[in-house]
């Protein structure tokens, strides 16, 4: 009985198809129309690199040069949120994944669980990274490297410019304003939203708060309920900001608005004065992988100027990149995009907010467990 392991109990609840649809009905329909949902069977398993990742990182726009160079196929298994990622890592048979792309706050848990390998810093172009990210604390444990940052971004407020002004979003208080009534949308994940509200409450370390501060945070969260317009999946946020159902969404940022701006939607993102939260996407080599060399080569590609340049402008959502050589390549080849991403050296750029000390790194709750925060979120939704 104890040896009996469930590899994927979701089948019981009919969830996978729903989730797949949720993550992009369009993509699903497209794939189905082409006659094959999921990985193409044309590649034998030894020529496949399996990557567990947030949506969008298996896009040909990013992986094609790597696939061509090494004659392999990159197959992405997508998840939304760090906890589902941990669950997949825990439940999948060993060898299911070669590379895992995770948020920095989960790297420690992956390392402690023995899921990822130590990496040799010399294998990766860390020297080309911005100094702040060369020895990013959450990626190192006892001076050993376990993950390489590929992308990052800030979370604060994403808003429609016809609902709120730049002046309004200087504070999280804008969420309670008359203008935002019934128009506050939520990304349906407790961590970034509650983190930003915690900053709004004046907690310097938004995730490391005592019981009293947590109770206050719950009150703050619950007081937003009358303002709420809805709780959105990752993909739905784009639609809701576009059609105006959501006027402002806390706990998200550039990653949502940059693509919409390109389509002419009047949206913008801001880090309020109370501060913002940094998210990162970092790649690690999975310990049970049988293709660790290929995994290493993939991470080398992703952290190289070419990989960085392509990854920053992932069709699913854009993000900032830590490699300065990647910035240079973008400035040379796509100057407009570099300006949009604020990846320029001659004007105020994304690194300045970091230097201003406004940015806290996203973490899982420190003094409470994840369940406690998550239950508060469920309670909030059901109010």
């Amino acid at each position: 009985m104890t040896k009996f392991q469930i590899t994927d109990p979701r089948g019981l609840l009919l969830r996978p198809t729903r989730r797949a649809v949720l993550q992009g009905a369009g993509a699903l329909v497209g794939a189905a129309a082409l006659g094959g949902v999921g990985a193409g069977p044309a590649y034998s398993q030894e020529n496949v690199l399996n990557v567990l990742t947030w949506p969008g990182h298996g896009d040909p726009a990013f992986v094609k040069p790597f696939e061509d160079q090494y004659g392999v196929k990159v197959v992405a298994k997508e998840y939304v949120g760090g906890e589902p990622m941990l669950a997949l890592m825990n439940q999948s048979p060993p060898g299911s994944f070669d590379v895992v792309l995770a948020d920095a706050e989960y790297i420690g848990m992956l390392q402690e669980g023995g899921f990822i390998d130590e990496m040799n810093p010399a294998d990766y172009p860390l020297a080309d990274y911005w100094p702040e990210f060369q020895k990013f604390p959450l990626h190192w444990k006892e001076d050993k490297l376990y993950s390489v940052m590929i992308r990052f971004g800030y979370l604060g407020l994403a808003y429609r410019t016809d609902v709120l002004t730049e002046e309004d979003v200087k504070s999280y208080k804008a969420l309670w304003s008359e203008k935002a009534k019934g128009k506050v949308g939520f990304f349906d994940w407790y961590l970034p939203t509650m983190g930003c509200l915690s900053l709004g409450n004046g907690n310097k370390s938004p995730f490391d708060i005592d019981e009293a501060a947590f109770e206050t945070l719950k009150e703050t969260l619950f007081s937003l309920r009358p303002q709420a317009s809805g709780f959105y999946s990752m993909a739905d946020q784009f639609a809701m900001l576009t059609n105006g159902t959501a006027g402002v969404i806390p706990g998200v940022g550039d990653w949502v608005v940059l693509l919409l701006q390109k389509e002419g939607v009047p949206v913008s993102a801001a880090v309020p004065d109370e501060g913002g939260i940094q998210w990162t996407e970092s790649m690690s080599i999975v310990s049970s992988s049988a293709k660790k060399d290929l995994a290493k080569q993939f991470i080398q590609y992703a952290s190289s100027p070419e990989g960085q340049f392509r990854s920053a402008r992932l069709p699913a959502y854009w993000a900032s990149i830590p490699n300065k050589k990647g910035w240079e390549k973008m400035i040379a080849e796509a100057p407009e995009d570099a300006a949009k991403l604020r990846h320029t050296f001659d004007a105020r750029n994304v690194m300045d907010e970091y230097k201003d000390g406004k940015i806290s790194i996203r973490q899982t709750p420190v003094q409470q467990d994840i369940e406690t925060w998550n239950d508060a979120w469920s309670e909030f939704k059901a109010m």
Binding site: P9, L12, L22, G81, A87, F231, Y232, N374, A382
Partner: protein, 290 residues
């Protein structure tokens, strides 16, 4: 001798029935009874470090049943599904009536086919496309604005969920009601007319009681479908507030809490069993005595 041959004939019939029914039975045992048992067992498991551990704890039941968010979601889901079943049953009746009694055979077939067409597209895609109609600057509000009327809010409200439920259930309910009404003995209706029964009274005293089983089954099916629907409350209702099916997803999404999700699922199954049992009892109740 006649006794023996009758017995042999009976045995043969049973063998035939078993052979005919066995595949379905095996299928149900393998893919319904076994997973169902597993689901119930899992409600007693625990989760440590995002990993499921076989266990025997009542903590999941205690947590879920005492959680305010579960009770709110339960009442909301039950009320919305019941209202949807009732509304769709009432709205479908005139259509089914017209199809069963007024339309010619060819027209009836054509219209019935039209009711089947929605099932050619998957439900999530249909619901997604409806966002275009209901968004604040969508088709409906554009038309309303043109008429000088104030805009309506449907998307991300309970009204959105309700519209989704109606979309999901209406075609099926109309079809089932049509079959039920078409099977009503025409002689009863003629007799009612001959006895100078008005059309309203004919419907209420003759047609509805005769078709009761079909009408109730149609409504019950609508309730079952709405009660478990995930797509409408998520993509039209904006999870605002969440239903039980969304709660299942939420429990799994953050924390990988399959055991708690299983508790919600088991409560849903128990509820549906009770409701269906009560409705079928009501539907067939009078017939045994009559």
């Amino acid at each position: 001798m006649t006794d023996r041959s009758a017995r042999r004939e009976r045995a043969g019939r049973i063998r035939f029935a078993v052979a005919l029914g066995a595949p379905t039975l095996l299928w149900q045992v393998a893919f319904f009874v076994v997973p169902m048992g597993f689901l119930v067992a899992m409600t007693f498991w625990s989760v440590r470090n995002f990993r499921l551990q076989p266990d025997f704890t009542l903590a999941n039941w205690a947590t879920i049943l005492s959680a305010g968010f579960f009770r709110s979601a339960y009442v909301y889901t039950f009320a919305m599904s019941a209202m949807a079943a009732l509304a769709v049953s009432l709205a479908a009746f005139p259509v089914a009536y017209a199809l069963a009694f007024k339309a010619g055979t060819r027209l009836r077939l054509l219209l019935a086919a039209c009711l089947v067409v929605p099932f050619f597209t998957s439900f999530p895609v249909r619901i997604y496309s409806m966002q275009i109609f209901f968004s604040p600057n969508g088709l409906i509000n554009t038309v309303l604005a043109g008429l000088g009327l104030s805009p309506i809010a449907v998307l991300n409200t309970p009204a959105g969920t309700f519209v989704g439920f109606l979309t999901l259930t209406a075609p099926l309910v109309v079809l089932l009601q049509t079959f039920a009404l078409a099977a009503v003995d025409r002689q009863l209706i003629e007799a009612a007319h001959n006895l100078r029964c008005g059309w309203m009274r004919t419907i209420l005293s003759v047609i509805v009681p005769s078709a009761r089983v079909g009408l109730v089954v149609a409504g019950a099916l609508a309730f079952v479908l709405a009660f478990g629907d995930y797509i409408s409350p998520q993509f039209l209702g904006g999870s605002n507030p969440p239903t039980l099916s969304i709660l299942i997803a939420d429990q799994v999404k953050s924390g990988n809490h399959w055991p708690r999700a299983s508790v919600v699922a088991v409560v849903m199954i128990a509820t549906l069993t009770l409701v269906l049992g009560a409705l079928l009892r009501f539907a067939y109740g009078g017939q045994g005595k009559a």
